[in-house]
Amino acid sequence: MGWIMPGLKPLLWACSLLAILLLLNSCGSPGAAPVERQVRDGQPLLVGEAGLPDHSPRSLAGPPGLPTHLRIPIIGVDATIETVGVTASGELEVPARRPWDDVGWYRLGPRPGERGSAVIDGHLDRPGGAPAVFWRLRELQPGALVQVLDSQGHWWSFRVRALAYYPPRQAPLQQIFADTSGHYLNLITCAGDWIASEHQTQLRLVVYTTLIA
């Protein structure tokens, strides 16, 4: 390396190091995110929070129809909404028709736009690790826009209030599914490392949003 000018060596080394880091990242576990390491003693980790006013349903629009489409512009989500219920073991179902590309609205809860906590889930990744519909959900920041189209052609707009990571058995289910203090839409996907023995990821990510219009 003596043929390289001395002033350029550090830059080349830095460049190579960064490139190697990038290479490692692209080959790593798709579910891993650095913030998740901060979960301690089963306590939920909340990442960011924005105080947002709750809005009553629009009087002109009337009650919302069935949700049909989800759009999250900042992370490129543009997905068809399927309806989901619960599995035989009591878990929220996941979309079945197009499991990696569609999202699932929990039909036993309120509709997006109604008072209460509407819930939509979606896959993080596909078998083999390629991204699925909610791959980039963790990139959302408080204030980001989330929109739902209903069967009557109305768009219901929500803003992200907070992101939280939970071990699945320690999630605040009442908060996620049954908070009736406002008009909420909560988005759920997986997060953390894959645990082969349990055939599931270590954590769940919940994105809390509040109706704005």
Binding site: L92, P131, A171, Q175, A178, R204
Partner: protein, 284 residues
């Protein structure tokens, strides 16, 4: 030398730009975005029941502020979201204000949990609040039921469903464990064996639903013994939305950033870096 000295800043700028591109790619790559963190707490959820025969229509104050008004015997509120931690709860006759409270207690609630807080008792033995921590998670395909014995001066209570004992000898101020039922229509009887008194109600219990049955009132007085029922939807567990990264690959990704893109970008950057060094060496 003049040409060479002229080239040095140019190559430095090129490599600097390369480093900036690398940093940009790292920041953009999924999974390495640095989310902003801030302190936050989920709410606690509390519903309040008026089960004291000796408290008339009341106001309920939470930390000195009126949370409920015109609160009548036999009423159960919906779950209210409140900040977790300790709260001063006061119950006063309607319009009298918190300074005239007949019950003042500090209760502590945990984030994310649901509670039933009942105002109970009679003047002779004291008025107070009792707290029950709830589990509103659903039992798939079943109805869940919990029985609360809040009838003073009555001894233990037994709850039967369609004539079959469901919960036996529950003591006053206790709540039963959750019991699973097949969905359907039931006639529930509460029997106060020591008083030889019973009361009944008929309910439809649905799949995935949580039913609470409160026995309140006096077996030998007014307000008389009655059963109050409340039903809420059960909450499911969180879904499994991850996939085995070691499984055989599925069709190409169409959502989000393709996983191969950072890899391609890395190889491109390495190619540019290699070309630069070769160029430097050839011109030396």
């Amino acid at each position: 030398m003049r040409n060479s000295s002229h080239r040095h800043p140019s190559m430095g700028s090129l490599l600097g730009l390369l480093a900036v591109l690398c940093c940009g790619a790292l920041a953009w790559a999924p999974g390495l975005g640095f989310a902003q963190k801030a302190a936050a707490s989920p709410s606690a959820f509390v519903r309040i029941m008026h089960a004291s025969p000796d408290i008339g229509v009341a106001d309920v104050f939470l930390d000195g502020r009126r949370a409920l008004s015109n609160f009548q015997f036999g009423t159960v509120t919906d779950y209210l979201a409140i900040p977790p931690g300790p709260h001063k709860v006061q119950v006063a006759l309607i319009g009298k204000g918190p300074d005239a409270a007949v019950i003042t207690q500090t209760l502590s609630v945990e984030p994310g949990f649901a509670y039933t807080v009942a105002a109970i008792g009679v003047q002779a033995t004291g008025l107070s609040l009792v707290v029950f921590k709830e589990d509103n998670s659903l039992a798939a395909g079943k109805a869940k039921l919990r029985f609360y014995h809040l009838s003073p001066e009555s001894g233990p209570a037994t709850l039967t469903a369609n004539g079959t004992p469901l919960i036996k000898n529950l003591q006053y101020l206790r709540a039963s464990d959750y019991t699973l039922l097949a969905p359907g229509r039931y006639t529930f009887d509460v029997d106060l064996e020591q008083q030889h008194i019973s009361q009944q109600t008929t309910l439809e219990v649905s799949v995935n639903q949580i039913t609470s049955i409160f026995s309140i009132g006096l077996p030998l007085g007014t307000p008389k013994l009655e059963l109050v029922a409340r039903q809420v939807a059960g909450t499911p567990s969180l879904p499994d939305t991850g996939s085995d990264p070691g499984a055989s690959a599925s069709p190409p990704a169409q959502a989000g950033v393709p996983v191969a893109l950072p890899l391609v970008l890395t190889l491109l950057l390495l190619l540019i870096g290699g070309s630069t060094t070769l160029l430097l060496r050839s011109r030396r």
